[in-house]
């Protein structure tokens, strides 16, 4: 004979009381309540952008922390010390933040592709609460190709605010997602490398070097008065780091200190790097 699943007299009587007022069955049903798994609470808040998660990714500067929520990547900073990352996030963003083991695969791939110079990859970015001007500066910065640099004044001119050069610098200093929005590719108009939020000029040179750009040489050329480079064969004048300029052979390379001189000499401005933007010749 098979033994009954449950034979205790108590269990049998529990559910056999008649219907009516609140009986034991009703009490037992109420007791079926469960606590929410942590993923439910945290997951909902992250999806809504009311909390963020973060994890580490490798970068030319060592480990960086990437924070994200349902709106997109919200914050990138160095993560040599995770505590410092979290403190700086708390001071600058302030939403609840929890660390996870890894960046979601799609985001990690997109960030890696961006760092590798693929500008076609879409990365949702969380720019809530930022000004229209800041966002315009960052979106324009996203257009600068890997391994190339543009002056602050170039950004200002390109977004239609040619006189807001200092404000461009301020907006770039506030860039919440450095490396993804490549503020390291924006340099001072005199050719010096300028400041960088992820650790000053030295870090900026490191990132640019990882992109194949010799920042020290670029600075030296600028000091020597080589702010523009033209090709004697195409008759086109470029910013020195423009990919078109870098293809010019030494024999046909014609450096210029000013764009006016180059135009005077019969060269036309490159349509790719648009050297007139932010120059004294800008309209």
């Amino acid at each position: 004979m098979n033994s009954p699943v449950r034979t205790s007299p108590a269990s049998r009587t529990v559910f056999q009381l008649g219907a009516g007022a609140v009986g034991p069955l009703e009490v037992a049903l109420r007791d079926l309540a469960l606590p929410a798994p942590p993923e439910v609470k945290a997951g909902a808040l992250v999806r809504l952008g009311l909390a963020d998660e973060w994890a580490e990714l490798p970068s030319p500067l060592g480990p960086i922390g990437v924070a994200w929520n349902g709106n997109g990547v919200s914050w990138i900073d160095r993560a040599d010390d995770p505590n410092v990352f979290e403190e700086r996030y708390a001071a600058r963003v302030g939403r609840p933040l929890s660390r996870t083991s890894s960046v979601p695969e799609r985001t990690a791939k997109a960030v890696a592709a961006r760092l590798a110079g693929d500008r076609r990859v879409r990365i949702p970015l969380d720019f809530r609460g930022r000004t229209a001007f800041e966002i315009a500066v960052w979106m324009k910065t996203l257009e600068i190709p890997r391994g190339e640099v543009r002056p602050y004044g170039w950004i200002a001119a390109e977004i239609g605010r040619p006189r807001a050069v200092r404000a461009v610098g301020t907006a770039l200093a506030k860039n919440p997602v450095p490396l993804v929005v490549p503020c390291h590719r924006v340099v001072r108009s005199d050719g010096t490398i300028g400041q960088y939020s992820l650790g000053g000029s030295e870090a900026k040179r490191t990132v640019l070097a990882a992109e194949g750009l010799d920042a020290l040489r670029l600075e030296a050329e600028a000091r020597a008065g080589q702010r523009y480079v033209a090709s004697a064969t195409t008759r086109i004048v470029c910013l020195p780091t423009c990919h078109h300029a870098r293809r010019i052979t030494a024999r046909h390379r014609r450096p210029f200190a000013s764009l006016a001189d180059a135009l005077e000499a019969g060269f036309r401005a490159c349509r790719s790097c648009r050297p007139a933007s932010g120059s004294s010749l800008a309209a």
Partner: protein, 201 residues
Amino acid sequence: MDPDIALAARLATDLDRAFPSLVDAHAGRLYTIAQRYLGVPSDAEEVAQDALVRAHRALASYDHDRIRMLRVRPWLAAITINLARNRRRRQADRRPPTPLEPLVAAGLEPRQSLGGSPPAVAEQHEERRRLAEALLVLPPATRAAVVLRHVDGLSVAETAAALGRPEGTVKAQVHRGLARLRRDLAAETHTDPDSTKELTA
């Protein structure tokens, strides 16, 4: 005072700042509703999370007065049970009802031990497991009514509103549901494991 009235007032004033409190206060309920109706923890987690996200989106589109007057408890229950019902309908053809093994494996049963000697605790767990299983065998419409009315503790009127059914229908469904639970649980105590399987198949 009903804490939900204060919560609704805070949601009306600053939705994003107050919403984490709503999540803290209600996520467990919503997960319970979804889990007791669906019986699959991973599905219940998704439904509860979706319900919270939808609730926030809805609130973001409501004006101040509408949020302030909102009866948060039944409103959230309605969102949750509707998502759970949609999910069950979508899955109904694709897979049979799942028993509670995953839940036990996930360590989510039981919610609490009520103290006492180990055998008594085991007894308690076994009771809950059997009741949860019996609940999952109820016809879905009946189960939804019983879950909202007795597991979540909504009134008949609130349950009816959440399910979009007349109160009389809900009353009858709850009555039938409880009667069937009593019958099934009583029957199970007297049958062997094999016939129990038949019952839940």
